[in-house]
């Protein structure tokens, strides 16, 4: 590998090639991250609107209520159809345009090649194509709000027959999903190939940072899970455009009118195809987060991860199992006891590897001299929050308990605990942690803590009451938040608590946004390895040039050699040659090889 002329070649490239149609994994990673953060914010805003309707059903939304027009909020009062659009699009956007693009497209792209000592991804142009497919998907989804009848309104799960007969927005949703699926497939192929082929010399599989493992397994989930949803999407498009009845049963009557369709289809078929992707997808949401937390925890406890190997094997087992639990979302479809028992059993089994990984991370804290910086606070918060999310999943996995809990706010509470205070806090940890690598500057610790504490508290304020409401039987997707139901009355006041918490959470994000931009210019300048970390990305200059490394890095040992007895510093990087030598940041990657 030649180590010449990095700085010169990219100076010649035009602005467009450098920042817009770049093939550099770091630029693409940042494009993904920014796009995803914008969509996360947008998707969150949709929910903020819904929370008004839930807290104050049918009361006009003050000040901005009039902006949405007669078709959506006449006189500032939200129409049920519009509520449904907001809900469906909130879920779709948060999952497919927010968390996954940030966790996989953003962090995966930026960090993985650096962590394995590669000059770039294996297929740089495919990488660019995958970002632009996501972008087109995002634009399509956004545009669907403005077509006649508004955006998709059959939930992020798009269950037929409702979705088959919904207005045009659903067609646009399907087209948008096809773009997003293409994007993910291209990305997945690229990640797996990159990790297998472009590993630095000496970087054997058991020397991978846990984050690389997490992305590796995630890529397989995307690669094998998405095509069935693609098939389902094509079927649904056919149903909507070509008059087929893949998902329409015979004799369907809508609003008293028999509908004109051949029938003979099966709505349950959609559910199978959808959950065959969407269950692995929940691990796509969580595994990169676990990867980030593992990196941050090892770095800030200054200790090797406890049980690294069992974590890796758990991860592989979990990835495999995640393909055979999908029908636990379908216990009430009347699928029979044999099937229920099977999926109930596999669901209980898949909890084991999750518990192992979480336990290893918690035990890793034991006896560490913990540095409580901002990334670490977010990573630490992830542990109990993911714990609550996972534990609340167990009753859902038991068919009998799920009959009561299915379709209630309990389910919403469960998965938000995993995805929001779980994954999203971990993603913040990752942003604070790798920001210095991307920019050469640290984010402000003060603003970081101001961001962390209220976020942590408000998130629980939003999601804990959901579990309580759900246990009382309050159903999800009710546009009045249960106000019309007698059994919801004792827990109705919680709607206000949740709404205020959500709005508070939104305000808190101002600290993050200010910090993000302020630190770009004013943040404390850092060395190449400000956290005194051991993995290979920290041997590259900050920000790394095109081609990443000054000379080809090499891995000499495992990823987390912290506090090695006899070593002069408390960290012994993967990339520094001799154990006896003093590991100096930045220069340590220089090897004669």
């Amino acid at each position: 590998m030649a180590d010449s002329a990095h700085g010169t070649h990219h100076a010649e490239m035009s602005f467009w090639r450098r920042y817009v149609f770049s093939t550099d994994h770091k630029v693409i990673g940042i494009q993904y991250s920014i796009t995803a953060l914008v969509f996360l914010f947008f998707g969150f805003s949709l929910m903020l609107l819904m929370r008004w309707q839930l807290a104050y059903p049918d009361q006009p939304l003050p000040i901005i209520g009039g902006l949405f027009g007669e078709l959506r909020m006449p006189g500032g009062v939200m129409l049920p159809d519009f509520y449904n659009q907001l809900g469906a699009m909130h879920g779709t956007i948060m999952v497919f345009l927010g968390v996954v693009p940030l966790a996989v497209g953003g962090f995966g792209n930026f960090v993985v090649p650096l962590q394995i000592g590669a000059p770039d991804m294996a297929f740089p142009r495919l990488n660019m194509a995958s970002y632009w497919a996501l972008f087109l998907g995002g634009v399509t989804m956004f545009a669907s709000f403005f077509v006649p009848g508004g955006a998709a309104q059959s939930g992020w799960t798009s269950y037929p027959p409702l979705s088959d007969i919904a207005p045009m927005g659903q067609t646009i949703w399907l087209v948008g999903m096809l773009f997003l699926i293409v994007s993910s497939l291209l990305g997945a192929i690229n990640f797996i190939t990159t990790i297998l082929q472009l590993r630095a010399p000496g970087l054997t599989f058991m020397r991978f940072p846990f984050f690389v493992w997490a992305q590796f397994v995630t890529a397989f989930l995307l690669l094998l899970g998405f095509p069935p949803l693609q098939a389902a999407g094509i079927f649904q498009l056919m149903d909507r455009l070509a008059g087929t009845s893949f998902f329409l049963p015979s004799g369907l009557v809508v609003s008293g009118q028999p509908i004109a369709a051949t029938g003979g289809g099966s709505p349950i078929l959609w559910q199978h195809l959808f959950w065959f992707l969407a269950h692995p997808e929940v691990y796509v949401l969580i595994l990169p987060a676990m990867g980030i937390v593992a990196e941050v925890v090892a770095n800030n406890t200054r200790k090797p991860l406890w049980g690294y190997k069992s974590m890796v094997y758990s991860l592989l087992f979990l990835g495999f199992m995640s393909f055979i639990v999908w029908a636990h979302h379908m216990f009430i479809t009347g699928m029979g006891t044999a099937m229920s028992s099977f999926f109930q059993t596999t669901t209980m089994i898949i909890s084991i590897p999750s518990v192992i990984i979480l336990s290893c991370l918690i035990i890793s804290l034991w006896g560490g001299s913990i540095r409580f910086n901002t990334p670490m606070l977010f990573a630490l918060a992830f542990l109990p929050m993911f714990g609550i999310g996972g534990l609340t999943g167990l009753p859902l996995g038991l068919a009998t308990a799920d009959i009561h809990l299915h379709d209630t706010y309990y389910v919403i509470g469960h998965f938000h605990y995993v995805v929001a205070p779980g994954t999203i806090l971990a993603l913040f940890a990752g942003i604070y942690y790798w920001y210095p690598k991307a920019t050469g500057r640290k984010m402000s610790e003060f603003l970081g803590k101001l961001h962390f504490w209220p976020s942590f508290i408000f998130m629980n304020g939003v999601f804990l009451p959901m579990l309580i409401q759900g246990l009382h039987g309050v159903q999800r997707r009710l546009y009045d938040g249960g106000a019309a139901y007698a059994h919801a009355q004792p827990v109705l006041h919680l709607n206000k608590i949740m709404s205020y918490s959500a709005w508070g959470l939104a305000l808190t994000q101002v600290f993050f946004i200010v910090n993000f931009f302020w630190s770009l210019r004013k943040g404390e300048k850092t060395s190449d390895n400000p956290w005194e970390a051991t993995t290979i990305e920290w041997s590259a200059p900050s920000p790394p040039p095109h081609g990443n490394f000054v000379s080809m890095p090499q891995a000499y040992r495992g990823p987390y050699e912290y506090s090695v007895p006899g070593h002069p510093t408390d960290f012994l990087p993967q990339f520094s040659p001799g154990a006896g030598e003093k590991a100096k940041t930045g220069q340590a990657g220089k090897t004669s090889h």
Partner: protein, 196 residues
């Protein structure tokens, strides 16, 4: 800066990047068609009555098409083998044949579709027809894509041969793997839709 192993093999995996890439892509394709076939089974099992495919669809046409595609897989292998022997003329001949056979498949398919429409058989006619049109339509789209790739490698893409013969040969091999896969899907589709 150059990406390693784009052409040559990485010693410990024994593969180059493109080879891994195409196998992964094919894995996702297997999941796609696997889901389509699984849906077929689920819908058929749930149906109260199911037509006899051979009485609606044209078995002779489909059989001809099966032969056409199998032959095209053979010519595709010959094209690649010719490149391995550095015989460019033969390569162009066999690749040309592969393209022509692919087009022949699509033409026959077109007449088949037209006959169905003439008889008033549309995707909306029945679940069986819906599956027939969707599955064969998706397959035909794959054939068309394959023809596009092959045509590129027959024409403008050939420039790479001068500069990097090994890389070009790899590309043809990759295109071949995709083409064989498309062939294989048809070999499943034919009996499932027309005979069973």
């Amino acid at each position: 800066m150059e990406i390693p192993y784009t052409v040559s093999e990485r010693p410990d995996t024994g593969l180059n990047n493109v080879k891994i890439g195409i196998w992964l892509f094919l894995a996702s394709e297997i999941m796609l068609f696997g889901a389509l076939f699984a849906s077929y089974i689920l819908l058929r099992v749930g149906a109260t009555k199911w037509p006899d495919g051979s009485s609606i669809l044209s078995v002779p046409m489909a059989f001809t098409n099966t032969m056409v595609l199998i032959s095209s897989s053979v010519t595709m292998v010959m094209a690649w083998a010719s490149l391995m022997e550095k015989k460019l003329g033969r390569y162009r001949l066999f690749m040309g044949l592969t393209i022509v056979l692919g087009l022949a498949f699509l033409v026959i398919k077109f007449f088949e579709y037209r006959a169905k429409f003439h008889h008033g058989l549309h995707p909306s006619t029945s679940t069986f027809m819906a599956l027939y049109f969707t599955l064969t339509g998706l397959h035909a789209a794959h054939v068309a894509g394959g023809i596009g790739i092959n045509a590129y490698l027959w024409g403008p893409g050939l420039k790479l041969w001068e500069r990097a013969p090994q890389q070009f040969t790899n590309r043809v091999e990759t295109a071949g793997l995709f083409w064989h896969f498309v062939d294989l899907v048809w070999i499943f589709l034919f009996p499932v839709l027309y005979l069973l």
